[in-house]
């Protein structure tokens, strides 16, 4: 028996060693970050497998779409872009770093990612160390942009929490508020923390604060009962749409019908296959992107995305990623980046350029500008779901 195991181990080890060497071979050609075939390589990282795959795949698809569009139009200053995308499984540790290293081996010069906050926190200091320009479509925690080479396309969590509380107070939407948030998720607890302090300042009364965790996100009956018996007029949901769809359904069956208010994580709820849209009637959310907005850019993007990806409706993650690639392309164009420049040189130029009078009109906001800290300034749009569609408030 031992011999059999040895045999297995040895043969596997041999295979491994072989593939390691080929991997080394690949890397040596692109060690300096410049690519050999004359393209600028954008590296993307996000979860493509596991429970968070829905967020990563949208980003990957939209980023690919943007790159293809740019290349079809002749590239940036005649230079083509190339997207490589690696799976980080939304892991907050070694797997995120592995994905990042794999991207480096493939000659990444600019990074688009990562998709989730946890993974992003694990790689920001690596990109800082290697001096690679990083722009994340959707990792929204404040800590993500603590280094000077990292920028966000999405809002920072504190901004969203504050904007939500302000909106509710200024428009007199409700006085008694209950919150249900995901305590194990950095995005959700980030918004919750700022919402709470801003609400106190604006004189809103928080009657119930309920949370859930990644491991128990199907049954919300206890949280809903608590909110109901506390007499909440409004339920604030700084969470993602999958859980929100469950909360909406469970509120209905518990005969609890407060007003619902959410953040950009709720966007996409109408695109869930087989979702009963009447449940979401009257839900308000602050989001930078709505797939059925009437402006030309959004409609063009949604049409192209649907054509390319099996009629799927893009969500806000996809829109942020699309913008992210376009922002990178515009910066590259502005700075005259060449394909043979090293990642570090590109980073030095781009990070100066993005906060220096650069502005971008995209799907997720008009006239977006960046501070040197890395946060984006754009105004969230308040939208309400009416007759199964988003409409501006």
């Amino acid at each position: 028996m031992k011999i059999a195991k040895k045999f297995m181990a040895l043969s596997l080890a041999a295979v491994m060693a072989g593939s390691c060497l080929t991997a080394c071979g690949d890397s040596s050609s692109s060690k300096d970050g410049g690519s050999s075939d004359g393209t600028i390589v954008i590296g993307g990282s996000g979860p493509l497998t596991g429970g968070a795959a829905q967020y990563g795949v949208g980003v990957k698809n939209a980023a690919q779409l943007a790159v293809d569009e740019i290349n079809e139009a002749g590239g940036v200053n005649g230079v083509k872009l190339k997207l490589v995308f690696e799976d980080d499984e939304a892991d907050p540790g070694d797997k995120a770093v592995n994905a990042y290293n794999a991207l480096k081996d493939k000659g990444m010069q600019v990074m688009l990612g990562t998709v989730t906050t946890g993974s992003c926190l694990a790689v920001i200091d690596k990109t800082k160390q290697d001096n690679i320009f990083q722009i994340t479509p959707s990792a929204s925690a404040q800590d993500v942009i603590k280094n000077d080479n990292t920028f966000q396309v999405c809002f920072t969590d504190p901004n969203q929490g504050k904007a939500s509380a302000d909106y509710i107070a200024e428009n007199n939407v409700a006085k008694k508020i209950a919150i249900i948030y995901d305590n194990s998720d950095a995005y959700s607890s980030g918004i919750y923390n700022t919402f709470k302090s801003e609400a106190a300042e604006k004189g809103l009364e928080i009657v119930a604060e309920q949370s859930f965790t990644k491991d128990s996100k199907t049954d919300f009956s206890a949280q809903i009962t608590a909110a109901k018996s506390a007499g909440a007029e409004l339920l604030f949901l700084p969470i993602y749409y999958q859980e929100a769809s469950l909360i909406l359904a469970q509120c209905k069956s518990a005969d609890f019908s407060p007003k619902f208010f959410g953040c950009d994580g709720l966007d996409g709820i109408l695109g869930v296959e087989n979702f009963d849209k009447s449940l979401a009637e009257g839900v308000m959310l602050l989001t930078p992107f709505a797939a059925d907005a009437s402006d030309d850019a959004t409609q063009k993007f949604v049409k192209a995305y649907k054509e390319k990806y099996n009629n799927e409706i893009p969500n806000q993650f996809a829109a942020d990623a699309y913008d992210g690639v376009k922002i990178i392309a515009k910066l590259i164009e502005k700075e005259g980046i060449k394909a043979d420049m090293s990642a570090s040189d590109i980073c030095d130029k781009l990070k100066k350029a993005i906060s220096d009078g650069f502005s971008y009109d995209g799907l997720t906001g008009q006239g977006m500008t960046w501070s040197a800290e890395g946060a984006v300034s754009k105004n969230p749009k308040a939208v309400v779901i009416k007759d199964g569609n988003y409409s501006a408030l």
Binding site: G51, V57, D219, S253
Partner: protein, 306 residues
């Protein structure tokens, strides 16, 4: 003052009753999943970690039949049971049968491999976006105390189905020839073989029943909590495994009791103590129970031979 206390007391009781009903509803679903675990463990002596993912397959089967193909809910349910049963038997034949004589740990690892396989297969076939499940339950909801407490149709269904399954399974095992063969195999595989029982087909039958139960559990789970992704079954699977151990692994009524207790503790803990620590509490109670009764609530005490 007294009036105030009374009204407060009534509100408290109502809320408590509501939590309790929700807990029993969640617990009944755990119970059905735990039955599958306990059955397979009792007879094949292996922890089938892929059980939770068979639930997910059941959910997708119903979804495909009802939403994509437009079948009626009864036909869809039947379809899901058939799919899961076939899947269960296939998994057993391909992955577990070659390891019949290997240590139980090897089989455990293989089961984990099967679990990864099913999850990633589902990801490739059904894509990453969550799907909303259409409830297969068609029971009207019950309103009590002028609508202060609402019992959903899904809750009634979950409780009824779990009771029917426990009674049916107990009758089957204790009073039919096939069932007794299962009992014999669980006691002693070699002796059972000598007595002319076909051990392989008995184990296959066990997997078939276990996977059929997983399909039922998948329907109940997805009807009550209508969202479906490739990891839908993972966490309920683990919780149900805890429930099976809690009640005494291998015992059918134990799985039922364990499931319901876990569900109730989870909901009450979330409501009254801390939502963050509700999962931790479930596990803490499990540890306490096992400290007092090391083989679970209804577990058999095994005497050691020298």
């Amino acid at each position: 003052m007294i009036k105030y206390i009374l009204s407060y007391g009534r509100m408290f009781c109502m809320a408590f009753l509501d939590y309790l009903i929700n807990g029993i509803s969640l617990g009944s679903i755990y119970a059905v999943i735990a039955l599958g675990y306990t059955l397979v463990y009792g007879i094949a002596k292996m922890l089938n970690f892929a059980h939770g993912d068979v639930i997910m397959v059941g959910g997708y089967a119903v979804f495909t039949a009802m939403v994509t193909w437009g079948w009626s809910s009864w036909l869809a349910m039947l379809f899901a049971i058939v799919v899961c049963t076939v899947l269960g038997i296939t998994i057993e034949k391909v992955a577990y049968k070659p390891l019949r004589k290997a240590s139980s740990l090897s089989v455990l690892i293989t089961a984990i491999g099967v679990s990864y396989f099913l999850q990633n297969m589902a990801l490739l076939i059904f894509k990453e976006k969550p799907k909303v499940f259409t409830s297969v339950v068609n029971i009207p909801k019950i309103s009590l105390f002028d609508g202060k407490i609402v019992i959903k149709g899904e809750t009634t269904a979950a409780i009824l189905v779990s009771i029917v399954i426990v009674v049916g399974l107990s009758l089957f095992i204790n009073h039919t020839q096939k069932g007794r063969a299962m009992l014999a195999v669980s006691e002693d595989k070699d002796a059972a073989q000598l007595m002319g029982i076909n051990v392989n087909s008995t184990i296959s039958l066990t997997f078939a029943i276990g996977s059929g139960l997983a399909a039922v559990a998948g329907m109940l789970l997805c009807s009550s909590y209508p969202t479906l992704t490739n990891t839908t079954g993972a966490m309920p699977g683990i919780k149900a495994f805890v429930a099976a151990v809690f009640g005494g692994i291998g015992s059918i009524p134990g799985a039922m009791i364990g499931g319901i207790l876990i569900g109730v503790i989870e909901i009450l803990g979330r409501a009254y103590i801390s939502p963050q620590l509700a999962d931790a509490m479930v596990f803490a109670v499990l540890i306490l129970v096992l400290m007092i009764k090391p083989t679970g609530i209804l577990g058999k005490k095994v005497n050691e031979k020298v």
